[in-house]
């Protein structure tokens, strides 16, 4: 399985095999067309052969309650009352956003466990995953989940297996209202722009595309009625960025720290080379450091006035 279209690879400091050029793809999720039927959840489960445990009803339409290692996508339902008293049912299909600047990949310590393809898909390679959960720490969207069965991280693959052979993701194929569409990122942006014109003409003045710059843009984008307040949609981040804490943790500080550790070892080595060890003369015995009585040993011929009885003393 030679992959030649990898533009970023976790915990790798040399260029990955990236000779193949691919057009950037994107999945566009139009929240204004979504009816919350969850067909996408089922299609995802079917195609990826995932069978999550049947959970419990928690009094909302969200089912399951949260993403898991076996639920890679999830409809999140929000009841939103607008200023003029309208009740809006905002439904957002949650899942991996496939960031252009993926926080998971940046945080991952295991070489090759997370890769980013030239088409924009960010994929987990569970074979290399060590289960540390750093990807969760790095993700600005709270997406990856560690399986409690095999302790590997899982998330939406954007159906990389289907996309690589020219098919659309399973959720896209099944969506009955056309709320999920898939194509080149450019085409999806154009499609979204048309939708936004339409929505604005229907009174959704703040309609817009969610393709946040803070993570370099995403390869899963939303059309939102309220693009000015994405957080309305079950906490979609307004300005997602890789946390500065993660940036500090994984940025320039680590090479510098390594350098400092190496420098400390070298400093010790050269201190030894230049100054030398600190030895106690083995035959040195306790002598009066400041004796008023000068004891003359006829065998001793060395007298150092600066160090009476000091280490310069020689024994018979």
């Amino acid at each position: 399985m030679a992959s030649q279209d990898i533009i970023a690879r976790s915990a790798t400091t040399t260029p990955p095999s990236s000779i193949r050029q691919l057009e950037e793809v994107a999945k566009l999720i139009d929240t204004t067309k979504c009816i919350g039927c969850k067909a996408c959840q089922v299609a995802c489960s079917e195609w990826n052969e995932l069978r999550d445990e049947v959970g419990h009803n928690h009094g909302t339409y969200d089912n399951p309650q949260d993403l898991s290692a076996e639920s890679w996508t999830l409809m999140r339902f929000t009841e939103h009352e607008t200023d003029d008293g309208n009740l809006e049912w905002l439904i957002r299909k949650d899942g991996c956003m496939h960031c252009a600047d993926p926080g998971c990949l940046k945080a991952c310590p295991s070489p090759g466990a997370i890769i980013q393809h030239a088409n924009g898909i960010v994929d987990f390679n569970q074979d290399h995953c060590i289960g540390c959960g750093y990807c969760i720490t790095g993700c600005p969207f709270n997406i990856p989940r560690i399986s409690q069965k095999d302790h590997k991280a899982y998330k939406c693959t954007l159906c990389s297996d289907r996309v690589s052979v020219g098919l659309e993701p399973a959720c896209v194929k099944t969506c009955p209202t056309g709320a999920i569409v898939f194509g080149s990122k450019q085409d999806m942006k154009e499609h979204a722009a048309e939708r936004i014109v339409d929505l604005k003409s229907r009174g959704f003045d703040n309609a817009g595309l969610y393709d946040p710059d803070g993570v370099g843009g995403t390869h899963v984008m939303y059309v939102l009625h309220h693009a000015d307040t994405p957080r309305l949609y079950a906490g979609l981040p307004d300005q997602p960025v890789i946390s500065p804490l993660v940036g500090l943790w994984k940025g320039v500080s680590k090479p510098l720290a390594l350098l400092a550790m190496g420098a400390a070892v070298l400093a010790g080595f050269f201190h030894y080379v230049r100054i030398g060890p600190q030895r106690v003369e083995e035959d040195e015995h306790p002598s009066p450091p400041d004796s008023s009585v000068q004891v003359v040993d006829p065998a001793v011929h060395v007298y150092d006035p600066n160090q009476p009885g000091g280490q310069g003393e020689q024994r018979p």
């Binding site: 060590i130 969760i136 720490t137 804490l245 720290a257």
Partner: protein
């Protein structure tokens, strides 16, 4: 009588120290494997990435437990005394192996004391932050922001700890007699007097200006 060596560390103290040291080496190597890609190969020492991830926190917790043993044994001897300030001021002379003007100090020199308290602080930070980022058992009880902060603090404390231990190990190589003191426990009277004179006087009962002993003459 004056040639009789002095017991600096008893068998329990030595065992405790080396248990911490061994666990530190294991925890540090496994931690460094996850610290930077350039060191990921260290994970092979522990049976691969997943085993490194599994073992590292247990080694860390065990190291902390034994380190508490060292703290209970040695914390009293690590209180700073008046001479320590001057000793630190004259650290440049100490570094050049010069003894003129360097005041006598107790069982531990101020450098060792600073190391002791730095290690204690690092160990506490590592333990608390390590629990927060221990994905298998504890992370689900913490918010993502606290996990991120803990991850950063864990790396920072580990960095300070590793640097401190590099200094500690080098001091053991540099000051002849200290490594063997921790290996078999004994130091010569001359060593004790040269490096830890106040402690020497305390354990031997010698006065600073003792009458001349010259029975060998």
């Amino acid at each position: 009588m004056s040639d009789k060596p002095i017991l600096r560390y008893n068998a329990n103290e030595r065992t405790n120290h080396w248990l911490v040291a061994i666990l530190f080496i294991l925890a540090a190597l496994s931690g460094l494997a996850l610290f930077h890609p350039a060191l990921f190969w260290l994970s092979h020492l522990f049976g691969g990435g997943p085993w490194t991830r599994i073992l590292h926190p247990f080694m860390g917790v065990l190291m902390f437990v034994f380190f508490v043993g060292l703290v209970l044994r040695f914390w009293r001897a690590n209180y700073f005394i008046a001479n320590d300030r001057l000793w630190l001021k004259r650290i440049d002379r100490v570094m050049r192996n010069e003894e003129q003007g360097v005041p006598p100090i107790g069982k531990y020199n101020p450098g060792q004391k600073l190391l002791f308290w730095t290690l204690l602080l690092c160990m506490l930070v590592l333990l608390v932050s390590g629990v927060v980022i221990w994905r298998a058992y504890f992370s689900s009880y913490f918010t993502i922001d606290s996990i991120r902060l803990a991850t950063l603090l864990h790396a920072l404390a580990a960095f300070v700890l590793v640097l401190s231990i590099i200094v500690h190990i080098y001091a053991g190589i540099w000051i002849k007699g200290s490594l063997s003191a921790m290996l078999h426990g004994w130091v010569s009277r001359a060593w004790a007097k040269k490096h830890h004179e106040l402690w020497y006087r305390q354990v031997t009962g010698d006065k600073p200006a003792e009458p001349p002993i010259n029975k060998k003459g």
